[in-house]
Symmetry: C2
Subunit: 326 residues, 2 copies
């Protein structure tokens, strides 16, 4: 933890009571002058911190920026996810940044956010728009003890984490569209890009990229997406706190990742099936050039979708584009 | 093709007849003086090229170095493998070099050789010794239209290519030990390291790394490997031409890769099964912490090994360490 993380953590812990400069100074083992300098720095970043003679320092509001120390301070103790957090003003794609970290041997759990991406991407190289400070564009590095076959389990974990975090933050119940979309009232509001590096029988690392359209206005979507995509702000009618949502997603993901690593994927899959609007539907799935029709029945033990075809047999499907038949 | 490639190709085509300087000059569209300068350069690299007034230029011998232009000139027209060849005097690991090329968008078929590797590796991060000019240490970039599930097909292709090339070059019939070793008289003489980068349902690229112990003497293996590993030179009693072997391997791999891409994996699998000493044996396979016993029956359609367990059911195995029961 950096000094800023510790100060923000103490301010959050004290709430409206505030915390005295002397107390902070003792707790952190640095001079009151040094504390004052850091408080000034935080203020310059947009944190509203009141300093009063008898209440000490009080945190009144936080700015709508992603601040690595602040995210770490709010996150608390997670097992893996968010051990290290970095925030970039702009990157090409956070998945690319994390890929480089992975190759440099960085430990799993590292998370990279970008306020904007110049080359954000979705599945199969599709473009993902990521305007500055309007959403959450981030990637998580994981090194799971899985075979490449079972990596879909992590997409399932990410979708479940996004579902729960969005629901608890906004009160709206979204739906999961297999394999990697979160919809609200039928429109896409978040997506997941899972990328892996592996030997045929062993994963080296997985990068879970997530994009959440938080505070975009309707006009900020490209015209061709307006009927297909939405944001939490459009759906709730109010701006959402991105940092709070980010912290919730990481906490939920940490919990789900722990379930996968401790062999409890089945419980996670059951929860996912409850949230997933694709299950039980008659669907057409395009996998490359192939079209498969049938009823989405459930998840297989490794995260693949089990589709009951017209001919009555079960097909395992790892990825594809789903159209629900009306 | 560079000028050197064209010159070497013409010299090879002419054989003992030789080719006149004027002919070369016309064919290549450059001056006789320029041809002469390139011939001098090739000689400085160790190529023995005779220049006689009435026979013109004749290629008498080539040095025991890997030379990208020369390999390209010998390779002839392959469909994919060897479109581009680079040779490094020393790298960490050729798989790492190709990984960087892949991320820079280089086309499939690129091959990187190193005369020596400082961090050569085998499966699961194991060390692979790669002394200078004693073997073939190289990696091939492929972008196959496969799901990550089916990437084992490429290890099968590489093993089959190594088998055929070694057999045709040395006259010795090696054996394939599933999943990725080539043995001669029970000792390892070549290995394959397959690494992939993917989304859960689609491969982005695969790197096939291969190491062949060609001209190592017994004393050049670490003591602990001497009972387990051998070289083509030890087994045949004579030094082998590394460039010729390299070209044969790439040609064979090109052929097998084409079979996979055109949906003929089954024919390849049949051939592989013939060469594989693991098939039909009672084996113990360690997969991580797990030990599975049974009889290796055949290959599944995606390249996985089908093992008939003691309890009579078939297990699909993607990778592991095999011990044959005596």
């Amino acid at each position: 933890m950096t000094i800023d993380t510790k100060i923000l953590s103490a301010l959050r812990g004290a709430g409206t009571n505030g915390v005295a400069g002397t107390e902070l100074s003792q707790k952190l083992g640095i001079s009151r002058a040094a504390i004052w300098a850091r408080i000034e720095e935080l203020r310059s970043l947009g944190y509203e911190i009141e300093a009063s003679p008898h209440l000490g320092y009080r945190l009144l509001s936080v700015p709508d920026v992603l601040h690595a120390d602040d995210l770490l301070s709010s996150l608390g103790n997670t097992k893996v996810v968010g051990r290290d957090i970095q925030v970039f003003e702009e990157t090409t794609s956070t998945n690319d940044v994390v890929e480089k970290l992975a190759r440099d041997g960085v430990k799993e759990g590292a998370v990279v956010f970008a306020e904007s991406q110049t080359k954000g991407r979705g599945r199969l190289g599709r473009k993902w728009i990521s305007p500055a400070r309007k959403g959450l564009w981030f990637s998580v590095l994981l090194r799971p003890p899985l075979s490449p076959l079972a990596v879909t389990q992590l997409t399932i974990a990410a979708a479940t984490a996004l579902f729960r975090a969005i629901k608890s933050q906004t009160g709206i119940t979204p739906e999961i569209k297999w394999p990697n979309d979160i919809l609200i009232r039928g429109k896409k509001t978040a997506g997941i890009l899972t990328e892996l590096s592996a030997e045929p029988d062993k994963v080296k690392h997985v990068i879970l990229g997530m994009g959440v359209d938080v505070n975009l206005g309707a006009g900020e979507f490209p015209v061709e997406l307006r009927k297909l995509a939405t944001s939490l702000r459009i759906e709730t009618g109010q701006r959402q706190n991105r940092a709070e949502l980010a912290v919730k997603i990481l906490q939920e993901l940490d919990r789900d990742y722990d379930r996968i690593c401790s062999g409890q994927f089945e419980a996670l899959a059951d929860e996912w099936e409850e949230y997933c609007s694709t299950i039980g539907q008659r669907v057409t799935i395009r996998v490359g050039e192939r079209k498969i029709q049938g009823t989405a029945e459930s998840l297989d033990t490794d995260g693949a979708l089990l589709l009951r075809t017209q001919h009555g047999h079960l097909e395992r499907i790892i990825g594809g584009d789903v159209t629900v038949e009306k």
